[in-house]
């Protein structure tokens, strides 16, 4: 099976629905990723944290080997291996020297069929509860999580990826098996490779290793949703500073306006030269302020965060409202737009330096849009996006349709 070649990419879909994509690069390392198009947003009401716990359990081994065997096998390859779970995706990935491509691929594929032994579920549940404990000790993360919950409301993007202490406690091996059965079907998986690979060997290996994989038949819900507006605050103990977050509607990952949205976010939120930097960081009102564009599957958002002394909380809020209102009214200047284009272009080029740097974008672009694009093509597209595209997005007044949430210290003024 040779597959299709599209502008420097190799693509094929196996009979069981598993998709494979490769981007060839002259590099000393090779990177392989196995992505499942499932994340926290796909959990049922009584499955909070299941996608993330399953990611942990994948490393506990299949019927042929235990956790120690899996870990040792990755280390034998000299592979740097990791995984992440987001609202949209679960990705297992690794980099190794090119002659280990086949063994790395075999191991990553084996992660997708874990045994889910009850003892492993118990140990890993404790690890996840410590992970939740760690997150609870970080007020900026708590503020962001609560802000997202308020902004997305009933939409599953508002759920915490880790779940809650009680939802994780309720995840039995049986529930994990059911979740796995529904969402780890072959049709929701994408195997990505970047570097100097042998495509025919890669495809043949994937086909042999996934012969018994079958489609799971689940589809992601895209509920009708309207962004929540307004502002809310909460006071709590255990920290000293005020943590502010903002959320506003934006184009989705599929929307052609996403590049214009990324450039708008850059004009306002660039850490060195954005409007929020000059209004908040330069005068020393906050230690850091950022605004970014998060293009999720079907629903996008602008998000912002800042941290300040509680006594300056109201001043920071007023300043941000002022900056965003003016930005919405006047739009970016031509020099601001050009600067944002060049900054984004450099970042895309830097990320493409190594096979590992290319992997996650490659997976997202294919799963969300069936799009395979080189860094050079993305840069050209960024530089060709006119200021008018940004102004069009601002006509909908996204920043006036957003939500602010502040987590403030109970010891404050």
């Amino acid at each position: 099976m040779g597959g299709v070649k599209v502008d420097g990419f190799d693509l094929v879909t196996l009979p069981n629905g598993l998709r494979l994509i490769g981007q060839r690069a002259d590099a000393r390392s090779i990177a392989v990723g196995l992505t499942f198009n499932v994340g926290a947003r796909d959990e049922a009401a009584d499955e909070g944290g299941a996608a993330h716990l399953l990611e942990h359990l994948a490393f506990k081994g299949d019927d042929d080997r235990g956790a120690d065997d899996v870990n040792r096998a990755f280390d034998e390859l000299g592979a740097r291996v990791n995984a992440f779970t987001s609202h949209d995706r679960t990705m297992y990935y690794g980099a190794a020297l090119p002659d280990e491509c086949a063994r790395l691929t075999a191991l990553l594929l084996s992660l997708a069929r874990p045994s889910l032994r009850p003892a492993d579920v118990e140990v890993e549940r404790r690890v996840v509860l410590e992970e939740i404990g760690m997150a609870e000790d970080r007020p900026e993360g708590r503020a962001w999580e609560r802000g997202a919950q308020l902004f997305f409301g009933e939409h599953p993007l508002g759920r915490p990826v880790l779940g809650t202490r009680s939802s994780v406690a309720a995840l039995t091996p049986e529930r994990m098996r059911a979740f796995h059965g529904r969402w780890y079907g072959s049709e929701r998986a994408l195997l990505v490779v970047s570097g100097a690979y042998d495509w025919d060997a890669f495809v043949a290996q994937a086909q042999a290793a996934t012969e018994d994989w079958t489609p799971g038949g689940s589809t992601r819900a895209q509920p009708v949703w309207a962004p929540r507006r307004g502002s809310q605050e909460m006071r709590a103990g255990g920290f000293e500073r005020a943590h502010l977050t903002w959320f506003a509607p934006a184009p989705s990952s599929q929307d052609p306006a996403r590049i214009a949205a990324a450039l708008l976010a850059r004009v306002v939120g660039d850490g060195d030269n954005g409007r929020l930097f000059w209004a908040l960081v330069e005068p020393g009102l906050v230690d850091d302020a950022a605004l970014w564009f998060d293009p999720a599957d079907g629903v996008g958002s602008f998000q912002a965060a800042a941290t300040t002394d509680d006594a300056q909380h109201d001043l920071v809020v007023e300043t941000v409202v002022d900056v965003l209102t003016r930005f919405e009214r006047e739009g970016p200047t031509a020099p601001e737009w050009a600067r944002a284009q060049r900054a984004l272009a450099t970042e895309v080029t830097l990320a493409a330096e190594s096979p590992m740097g290319r992997l996650a974008d490659l997976a997202d672009a294919w799963l969300d849009r069936e799009e395979a694009e080189t860094a050079e093509a993305t840069v050209a597209r960024i530089l060709a996006t006119p200021l008018a595209a940004g102004l069009t997005l601002l006509e909908a007044a996204p920043f006036s349709s957003g939500l602010r949430f502040s987590l403030r210290p109970s010891s404050g003024p």
């Binding site: 490393f59 034998e76 009102l285 230690d287 002394d309 450099t346 830097l350």
Partner: protein, 415 residues
């Protein structure tokens, strides 16, 4: 000129600035990393945090450009900036397209050679330093590191990397400007460049841009070590943060590469001992790790983890046991895995211009010269089980300072 794949080049300018450069064929990007001895350890004892203010102030205008013009000048080339300041060094990093390097490097040089240090930019820089100090106090990991460093060193190297609130509040523009003039100097500084240009071309560009930098660095002497002890700093939060600190081999000393391999077996991989014992077998912590830190020629090992207070004593005992067990040596399989991992890590790091530039800079600081990727690979490959285990057996019995922050551990380590 197109880059060639030969090893890194190195030169020392007459002003003392050390410059290392490595061409990376196939890249269209270039990263530069400048590190110079400006840190809170060198601040006057009544002006702790001045280095943080200086680092910020430096970036707010140079020559005939004010702060806005300066930011715009970098952005004209899409150059991405980074950097920071700690106890020992300040750094500035920049990444751009290789073809723009001749325009971007002079902008970096202007930050350290032609900073305006305008009065009207001072207050913002000082306020930002105060904000960063306050933000660090809300970060459990940062609180642990600050406590660990203070437990290892007496005197200037045990200071906070963020300064002292009262000192920051009293600083004047004139005082900080005078400190900056004496401390933003090329002596002791390193500039590393890596990316899609020939190494000789990069060296020439850097020499032109930084040749006019002037000044000598004061000698701050060696750090003063504190005796081994047990420290607890109470704080809020649900998790007890734990650090074990003990002596390590210094760069250039015999055993450096053996130590690197042993640390990989201890903490550098998925089957590493700490991960396996603490997380995989017991589920005691989400994060656990151990690394070597170098401060002004001193080296220490910092092993850290966090867990609920009721399990903290058990976790400290487990960490102690694993560190002590290092002296018994590695198995042949462990050594082979660690060697492969280290070799691959060296290759991965050398694939990005930012990773390569940062490594060149730290090589110059640690070893006095940049090392070729192949040199490091060869040193790792040359290790044998006899060498590594001989080194580990020769290490002194574990004598670790134990630092905890956050809620006090329950049980044996409560005191």
């Amino acid at each position: 000129m197109a880059p060639s794949a030969s090893g890194p080049q190195f030169t020392v300018l007459p002003n003392g600035l050390r410059i290392a450069a490595a061409g990376m064929p196939g890249l269209t990007t270039l990263s530069a990393h400048l590190r110079w001895p400006l840190g809170t350890a060198g601040d006057p004892s009544d002006a702790q945090g001045a280095a943080v203010v200086i680092h910020e102030w430096l970036q707010r205008g140079a020559g005939d450009r004010n702060a806005h013009d300066q930011a715009d000048a970098f952005d004209r080339y899409g150059a991405r900036r980074g950097g920071g300041v700690g106890r020992e060094y300040a750094s500035l990093g920049v990444a751009c397209l290789a073809r723009d390097a001749a325009h971007v490097l002079p902008l970096v040089a202007d930050v350290v050679t032609a900073a305006r240090l305008d009065d009207d930019e001072f207050e913002g820089a000082r306020q930002l330093a105060l904000q960063e100090l306050a933000a660090a106090a809300d970060d459990p990991g940062e609180r642990l590191l600050e406590a660990a460093v203070a437990a290892r060193y007496a005197g200037r190297y045990g200071r906070s990397a963020y300064g002292v609130r009262g000192h920051l509040a009293r600083l004047s523009a004139a005082r900080v400007r005078a400190i900056a003039r004496a401390r933003v100097v090329p002596a002791g500084a390193v500039l590393a460049l890596a990316g899609g240009l020939d190494a000789a071309t990069m060296l020439a560009l850097a020499a032109t841009a930084f040749g006019g930098w002037r000044g000598a660095a004061p000698d701050r002497g060696a750090p003063t070590l504190r005796p081994r002890r047990r420290v607890h700093r109470s704080g809020s939060g649900g998790q007890t943060q734990i650090a074990l600190i003990d002596d390590a081999v210094r760069p250039g000393e015999e055993g450096w590469t053996e130590q690197a391999v042993a640390m990989t077996a201890l903490s550098g991989a998925t089957a590493a001992r700490l991960w396996t014992v603490v997380r995989e077998a017991r589920g005691l912590a989400y994060e656990v790790g151990s690394g070597i830190h170098i401060v002004a020629g001193d080296a220490y090992r910092l092993t850290h983890a966090a867990t609920a207070p009721e399990r903290a004593s058990e976790l400290i005992d487990v960490l102690h046991g694993e560190l002590e067990r290092c002296r018994d040596g590695l198995g042949a399989d462990e050594l082979r895995r660690a060697q492969r991992l280290l070799r691959a890590a060296v290759v991965f790091e050398a694939e990005t211009s930012g990773g390569r530039a940062a490594r060149l800079a730290s090589d110059v600081v640690r070893f006095g010269r940049p090392r070729a990727v192949e040199e490091v690979e060869d040193a790792v490959a040359a290790l044998t089980l006899v060498k590594v285990n001989g080194f580990l057996a020769s290490r002194p019995p574990l004598a670790a300072t134990v630092v905890t922050t956050g809620p006090r551990p329950e049980g044996a380590w409560a005191a």
